[in-house]
Each structure stands twice: as structure tokens, then as C-alpha cells.
Subunit: 293 residues, 2 copies
């Protein structure tokens, strides 16, 4: 068991657009890397660079001191962590488990409890920064779990992100990511409604951005997605299907907390309509299509 | 009639928190300044610094080459511009009229038409940047009107703002300001809902801001009003009563354009409820009170 900052054997499960970039940083950081992905072909570049293939999440866990997961949904997380062939059951003695999927806080707590029962440590560590942040190792990583596990994880997380903050105990990373998504949800309404008004009222929308982008209306989303909207570029930085998943988790949690968030509810409905209308794989800026004509 | 960049005789009507700061910059810029305000006492500091008092908006207009107005509501604008004692009727030959109030685009067009009928030029030039922007002469000024009038106004506007953009013909400045307010409306929903979730879920909200303020959720409002919300500072940078006025104009215009903006509608309702509940003179960040407990 190696608690120092030396090279650890790391397992990485989930090699989507973000996961593949993140795993690559660990490999280049000098770690021995064991990987698994549902679609095996996505591992090829990593294997060519020296990573080791394992045939299941449980097999990755059995081979690694630190197990990182970056999968799709809370159901996926549950499926790979629990059961007799799951990560918790098959992890090595003293292993550290880090789920970087955006998932439910309650599930993060369940994983932490199950891990502790086996003497393991678990962190929830969802990220923000999208595909670009993952590629450039500039993610914001929001961590929940005990302080000792966080200290142990830091040198590994530092290979993937620039802003790494422990937010509290198990689930706190997920709660923080949900805050992030709740802010984004209504901010996107504002961005798209403002630009739709600009277009409908006959203004030149790029000139409007020049006036409003640097002031009180300014935001990362207005200044980064606004120009894409205006050139009708709806390719995904972050996909609507993924945002819908996140907003559903946030909506469920806010109901559980008896917290009425009408902006979140409205944004979720708008995005669900878009997904039902076939825009699920478009970028979140395609919300503009609800307003444009 | 002086169309050059030399010192002009300027009239300024409306010496509220922002107007008084703006008029002061014109005086320090070397212009001869004639002022009027409904509450005369608010002019005292300017008069002590050399400004000349006039007893009515019409009297200001009769004394100045450039007439600037910064009053409360579209009704106030209408009252001072029209009628036999109004600004349009009493303005000097060749005068330039600049309304910097946030007001209705249709009213801006009416003023431009009435001014043109007398051979005058008019601009709508609402601002964003709040009391601080006015004090520091760092306003964003969104201008509608003809290009020649804009050129003539530029050296005067440059004494009050740093980002001065002509957005189009008469009314375009007002339309642009409404875009700004529409973006702000839903962004404020996101900021307050995200922070309310942070608090209710038991997170340490300042630490949450550390994680989310610099990423995709980041905005001027999150980073400037977020910390005020967390220290329960609801003093106005910009008052709810004024935002309600602006959002009502934006809502009316969007209906006229057959543009459904549910985020704007929701934010307007939230802010109207706050105003009805006695929060009209609080800052816009008091929206948080709708969620907190």
C-alpha cells in the first residue's frame, strides 16, 4: 500500500471523450495504468501508449491501488461499484476509489459506506471544464470524502485539473457539481433569450455581444457559447443528453431537500423537449433553437 | 451651432445616483453645464462646482446645445420630452438630444421622429455598469440613432463610459439594453438557485464559489453578487424596483415581437413578488430571499 506521492498503479474505467483524455494524463504522469471501457476500441490509443487492458471493472480494481471511474449515469456507477464482481468487492486492500462521474450524492455516500466496510477509501470527484478542460488538464475537480483520502488523491487529481477543492464529506463533490449545473441551467436561459431578443428585434447580434459581454450580463457561457450560437454552430462541447441527466439528478435532489427551484425546472423542461425533438447529441447552446425562427 | 469636439453647453436632466455622477464628469470635462432635477437638493454639489440651475426640463433644453436625460421611467421620459414646454419644443436649433434612461424602444423612435420634425437629432443611449460604472466613468453605453448624431455625441459620451457602441437606428440602444436585462434576469435565477442549493444541501457556500466561479458557471453576477449574498448584504448596487421596471419593458416588447421568453417571465414574476413583499429598494441579489430559509 503506497500512500506517498510516488507513482501508483492506477485503474481507469470509462474512456469516453473526457475519460480518455484524463487517463492519458495519468499515463504521461508516469503511472502504471490499467483500463476498461464498455467499447473496447476506445482504449486502443492508450494501450498503444503503454496502458494495460482489463476485461471488466472488477478486474481493473483487482489490479490497481487507485481506481478512477468516469462513466455515464448513476445507474452505470451503481452497476460497476456494487455486486460480487464490482469495484468495491474486488478492490485491493487499502485501495482508493475515486468516482469522477457526475452522479447522485446519495450514491456517493453509499459507495463511501460500502468502501469503508472493507477498509477502503472512496471519494466523489466530479469535474467541470468539458472536453477542452479534460484535454488540457485544466478541469475544476469538486471533491467529497474524508480529508486523508483527499490528500492521497491530490497528486493524481493534479494531473487532470487546476482547481481541486475538497467540498466536504462523501457526496459533497456531487452536491457541488449539481450547484454548478443549476447555475448553468438558468444562465443558459438568459443567454439564449437575450440573443433571441437581439435577433427578433432586428439588432446585429455580434454588435450586441460587444456591448453586453463585458458587463453585468457577461458570463463564461455568453462569451463562449454566444458566438457559436450566432454562427449556428450547435456542435457539442457538452451534450444536451448529458445536461438533461445532470439536471434530472439536481431536480430530484432539490425536491428531496424541499427546495423549489423554478429556473432549474424550466430549463430542464426546455432541454427535455429538445432531447425529445432529436437534439440530444447537440451542444447545450442548441437551447437557442427553442427561441429562434 | 457647434458640431466639433470643442466644449459644448450641455444640459443634464435627472440627477439620481447615476445621473449626478455622470453630470459631474461632464463638468470636469470642461463643459458648461445646465441642470434640472425634480428634487432640487440633489443638484447642490454640482451647482457648487459650477453648474447652472434651470427651473424645468424645457428651460434646460433652451440653454444647451446637447441635452442629456437620465430619469426614472418611460412615463417620465415622455413627460419631459413632449408637450409645449417639453425638451423637443424648447430645444435650440440644431440641438442634440440624448436620452440615457432605460426606456422603451418605441418611445425612443417617437422622440427621434419628433426631433427630426424640428431639425434636431436624438439618440437613445441607455447604459449598463450601475452606480460604480457611473462614478468611475466606466459605463457601457448602447446607442441608437443616426451615425452623424452618434459621431457628434461620442466625445461627450466618452466622458462617462469606456464601451460606447452604436447598435443601429433610433430604438436600437434601448433594444440592446433590454437584451442585457433579459440575460441578467435568468442569470440571476441561476446564481440564486445554485447558491440556495449549496446552502440547503449543507455545503460551505464560499468554498462552492471557489470551485464553480471560475468555470462554465462563472459570470459577473455570480462572482460579484454571490459573495454579497453569502454575507447577507442585500444593499442595492441596482434596485429591484428598477429591474422590475426594465423587465416589464422587456416583457412587453417580447410579447409585441411574438417572442416567448419563459425565463424572463419567471424572473419578472419572482422580482415582482419581492417588490410587493417590500424588497423593492433592496439590491437585485435579494432574489436569494425567495429561496433561502
Amino acid at each position: 500500500m503506497n500512500h506517498s506521492n510516488e507513482r501508483a498503479t492506477v485503474g481507469f474505467i470509462g474512456l469516453g471523450i473526457m475519460g480518455a483524455s484524463m487517463a492519458g494524463h495519468l499515463l504521461r504522469g508516469g503511472h502504471s495504468l490499467h483500463v476498461y471501457n464498455r467499447t473496447a476500441s476506445r482504449a486502443e490509443a492508450l494501450l498503444a501508449a503503454g496502458a494495460h487492458w482489463q476485461d471488466s471493472p472488477g478486474a481493473v480494481a483487482a489490479a490497481a491501488d487507485v481506481v478512477i471511474t468516469m462513466v455515464g449515469t448513476p445507474d452505470d456507477v451503481e452497476a460497476i461499484y456494487f455486486g460480487s464482481e464490482g469495484i468495491v468487492a474486488r478492490a485491493r486492500e487499502g485501495a482508493l476509489l475515486i468516482d469522477m462521474t457526475t452522479s447522485s450524492p446519495a450514491l456517493a455516500e453509499r459507495i463511501a459506506v460500502a468502501a469503508a466496510a472493507r477498509g477502503l477509501r472512496a471519494l466523489d470527484a466530479p469535474v467541470s471544464g468539458g472536453d477542452v478542460g479534460a484535454r488540457e488538464a485544466k478541469l475544476s475537480i469538486m471533491v467529497g470524502g474524508d480529508a486523508e483520502a483527499f490528500r492521497r488523491a491530490q497528486p493524481i487529481l493534479a494531473l487532470m485539473g487546476t482547481r481541486i477543492v475538497r467540498q466536504g464529506g462523501p457526496g459533497a463533490g456531487q452536491h457541488t457539481k449539481l450547484c454548478n449545473q443549476i447555475v448553468i441551467a438558468s444562465t443558459m436561459l438568459g443567454v439564449c433569450e437575450g440573443l433571441a431578443y437581439a435577433q427578433r428585434s432586428g439588432l446585429d447580434a455580434p454588435t450586441v455581444l460587444e456591448s453586453i459581454g463585458g458587463g453585468a450580463a457577461g458570463s463564461f457561457l455568453l462569451n463562449n457559447l454566444g458566438p457559436r450560437i450566432l454562427r449556428e454552430d450547435f456542435a457539442p462541447g457538452f451534450m444536451i443528453d448529458h445536461l438533461v441527466k445532470d439536471l434530472r439528478i439536481a431536480h430530484g435532489e432539490s425536491e428531496r431537500l424541499a427546495l423549489d427551484l423554478p429556473g432549474l425546472t424550466l430549463a430542464l423542461r426546455q432541454y427535455e423537449s429538445l432531447a425529445e425533438g432529436g437534439e440530444g447529441r447537440s451542444g447545450t447552446q442548441a437551447l437557442y433553437k427553442r427561441y429562434a425562427r
